[in-house]
Symmetry: C2
Subunit: 338 residues, 2 copies
């Protein structure tokens, strides 16, 4: 292994000088800097991360806390996009990331505590927001820096990065109503995370404001047979809704599968739309109109905020709201040319 001493010897300088060259210390002369850099290249020197971490007490890595590392989570394009956004932002600033792998809550707490106490990371980005979360308590108790991707709940002194999900849902609902729909349905996951609650709220609000004839809210987990049940219920009603909004892509693809089964055509028999944009929606049968919530920006902003907080713990803790917008695709376009 080539160390800083090897470089120093070869360049006829002290190790401390080499160290200064590496960190771009201002008091180093042009000359020595050039000379040392040449030697570093020649010997293929690369700083030893562990040694540096040991003395600086900075790991330059950020921990990502997933609610659960289950397939439902890791396969959801929303999360992979958020993760990519974080990775890119971190890499640009010479930080790396490490993800929790716990499935169960107990296990997750232990994992987070271990990462924190073993000084493996400089801060955490939490990829969810939940009332009374024990992890938040743990981090606050230890005064360990972190930011949250998700809604601000009670806590005032925590940085949150989020969309305005109420507004996003209002946008989507109004869009449907403007298409002339008068009987809308909304499908959301039953476990009431802030996201779903807000989207339901936005939906209700706009339906009421516009005096929509009928609007319904269904709960289902993103599994095909649960959505099949929902569609079956819809069919048993006097009138089938003319527009269905799902609160997540995973619900949406299952809805499309159920509608396909019953040979209910989109957009002719019913129009559909959903939240989050990804290849799943773009390549769906048919391509789906969506509210793009820009998961990669959520991730990027979270990464930037986290690094700022690590490098200056006294920074003002302000939240960031990522804007959303509708992308219209075939699922809400009346087909003229058929």
């Amino acid at each position: 292994m080539v160390t800083i001493k090897d470089v120093a010897k070869e360049a006829n300088v002290a190790p401390s000088t080499v160290s200064r060259v590496i960190s771009g210390h201002k008091s180093i002369s042009e000359n020595t800097s050039k000379k040392v850099k040449a030697v570093m290249r020649k010997l293929g020197y690369e700083p030893n991360v562990a040694a540096r971490t040991l003395v600086t007490q900075k790991t330059k890595t950020i921990g990502l806390i997933l609610k659960t590392a289950s397939k439902e989570m890791t396969q959801n394009p929303f999360f992979t996009d958020v993760l990519m956004g974080i990775s890119i932002a971190c890499k640009k600033r010479a930080y790396s990331t490490i993800m929790t792998t716990a499935i169960e809550s107990e296990e997750l707490i232990a994992e987070v505590e271990s990462l924190m106490k073993s000084k493996s990371i400089d801060g955490f980005i939490m990829l969810y927001s939940k009332e009374n979360d024990p992890i938040i308590k743990l981090l606050k108790k230890n005064k360990f820096p972190f930011v949250v991707i998700g809604k601000q709940l009670q806590e005032r002194d925590i940085i949150h990065i989020d969309n305005d999900n109420i507004e996003a849902s209002e946008l989507m609902t109004q869009f449907m109503i403007d298409k002339g729909h008068n009987h809308l349905a909304f499908i959301a996951e039953p476990d009431s995370y802030a996201v779903a609650i807000d989207r339901i709220e936005g939906f209700k609000k706009v339906c009421i404001k516009n005096n929509v004839n009928e609007f319904q809210i269904f709960n289902a987990r993103p599994e095909r047979n649960e959505i099949m049940e929902v569609v079956k219920k819809m069919k048993e009603q006097k009138v089938f809704p003319s527009a269905i909004i799902t609160s997540d892509s995973m619900l949406n693809i299952n809805l499309l599968s159920a509608l396909y089964h019953y040979n209910i055509r989109i957009p002719d028999d019913v129009m559909t739309a959903t939240f989050n944009d990804s290849f799943i929606n773009e390549s769906a049968s048919p391509p789906q109109t969506v509210v793009n919530i820009h998961p990669e920006y959520l991730g990027e902003e979270a990464g930037i905020a986290m690094i700022k907080l690590i490098e200056d713990p006294n920074i003002i803790k302000k939240n960031t709201i990522i804007p959303t917008e509708i992308i219209e695709r075939a699922s809400t376009k009346r087909q003229e040319n058929v």
Copy 2:
């Protein structure tokens, strides 16, 4: 921060004794072990990873080399499943993982070289297999341990974890022929990675063996308009194929979208099937028959092999083949009850 010295002082032993307790050294008496462990718990001690790494020269982390960290890759369920498989296997053995984030090939080489030389990781798992890969050359030159998920090409002295993709494709093709199909189509990606080549080979072989009336191979990238073109071509033929196999889920969902557009119903007008199983196929319109290639096992086996190789560099380098099997779903089931 609580260090090994703090624990030693509190427990009235030497730091080296504490170290031995941590590593489960056999020559430690039951008594001291208990005493020291109690103190560790009491003080909330957690070993400092950087310090340990510095002296042992082992990071206990494994680098994952992605061909490219683009969305096409990170959103593909095949890869997220492989990644999860690796993570789980590593975590069980107290290893963590770190993923490359480079999009471009040049950038990737630099990233790998830096990770290697900065002693940030103990070994690499490559998530692709390519002829004349410069990264493989780099790793071999530096005698750095690694395993490959993908096909064995020239190199004999490298551990490979893979499926038998020829066989898997033979299985799938025979399955379709047994359904009575006599005009089959196969859609694969144009850039000829080993996986696609093998699947095409298996398809051809079985078609010829069974004297299939007509079989065709189409090339398309997994983008909707490219697949739309393919389907359009199919429609312009005298006869539309009665079964279409795609070599990847991403191609498959785009195919379904195109067929939906032309109102070609599955399985009535055409039967479809694809490789890799995930929620995408399970919740597709309609649910797809697939060859399950068990990406999570590929990952798990790769993780296990990698750790074995790190801990004993002289291990015999043998390959592992993960079995595959067909899961039949609606896309190939003749509907009796309509």
